[in-house]
């Protein structure tokens, strides 16, 4: 967890290598076998031109970063809002990062407002968004 939660503090970034094997594993684990993720010949015929990772897999990486930063506060009192800007493809190396934009006090409770981003090795944004975490006692 972050030792100090304050405005401007970067969140602990994480890097993940996307492979078709990982996409297939995620399909097995989640039960989402949409052919755009797992059928390379089908996906090649679509405007996307090939398979893409599940959006929920990318969000799992974002949630992992948030858990590293905020622990149980994130798991029990987190809020996430994201847009998928571009597909993540096999071979991509994704970096998930973020920053605490502000600490807000509402009715005596502290919330951390964070900006989030996931980008690939070409620095293209894959996911952008915001998260809010209600801070449990002793964190702010």
């Amino acid at each position: 967890m972050l030792a100090e939660i304050s405005q401007g503090k970067p969140l602990p970034s994480i890097t993940k290598h996307i492979t078709q094997e990982k996409i297939n594993l995620y399909a097995e684990a989640s039960g989402d076998f949409n052919p755009i993720h797992v059928d390379e010949s089908f996906a090649a015929q679509t405007p996307l031109g090939g398979t893409i990772a599940h959006g929920m897999l990318i969000l799992a990486y974002i949630s992992e970063m948030m858990t590293l930063a905020f622990g149980q506060s994130w798991l029990s009192q987190g809020k996430l809002s994201v847009r998928f800007k571009a597909p993540a493809r096999p071979g991509d190396i994704l970096t998930v990062s973020g920053e605490i934009d502000s600490i807000e006090d509402r009715n005596g409770v502290s919330y951390a407002n964070c900006s989030l981003e996931c980008h690939n090795q070409r620095d293209e944004a894959i996911v952008t968004g915001q998260a809010v975490v209600r801070l449990l006692g002793g964190e702010s």
Binding site: A29, T46, M56, E64, T67, L75, Q77, G78, F84
Partner: protein, 128 residues
């Protein structure tokens, strides 16, 4: 019976689905997301199962993609809990040839306490 895009109208409720978040299910999920063991169920695992439960009774064209997602978590969920997933169509949007569905999700535990809610926007490929 699965329902297709044309049959979906705002307010349509999908059949509810239940999952036991067993140690083996969560272990498989953690391996897939490249993560290590955890004390509580990752909230994105719960969201993934809720989305899959809904998709199981949907018949969308292949190639439909996820364009945005909102999620809110309300409590810690221990491994072994049983969740009940409920979903409905919030909106149906058409912009030229683009068709989008906004789906609302709510997940409860075995004590009927809400553990998570969310909203997913899905874009469909051009419909013939």
């Amino acid at each position: 019976m699965n329902v297709g895009y044309e049959g979906l109208t705002p307010g349509y409720e999908f059949p509810p689905a239940s999952y036991e978040l067993s140690a083996s299910l969560i272990s498989k999920y953690l391996k897939a997301v490249d993560s290590s063991s955890v004390e509580f169920v990752p909230p994105l695992a719960i969201a993934a199962y809720a989305m899959t439960a809904m998709a199981g009774s949907l018949s969308l064209p292949p190639g439909s993609i996820h364009v945005s997602q909102e999620l809110e978590f309300f409590r810690l969920v221990p491994v072994g809990d049983v969740i009940d997933c409920q979903a409905r169509v919030a909106r149906k949007l058409t912009r030229g040839k683009l068709h989008m569905l906004v789906l609302e999700l709510n997940v409860f535990d075995q004590n009927k306490e809400k553990v998570q809610s969310g909203k997913a926007t899905v874009m469909l490929p051009a419909l013939s």
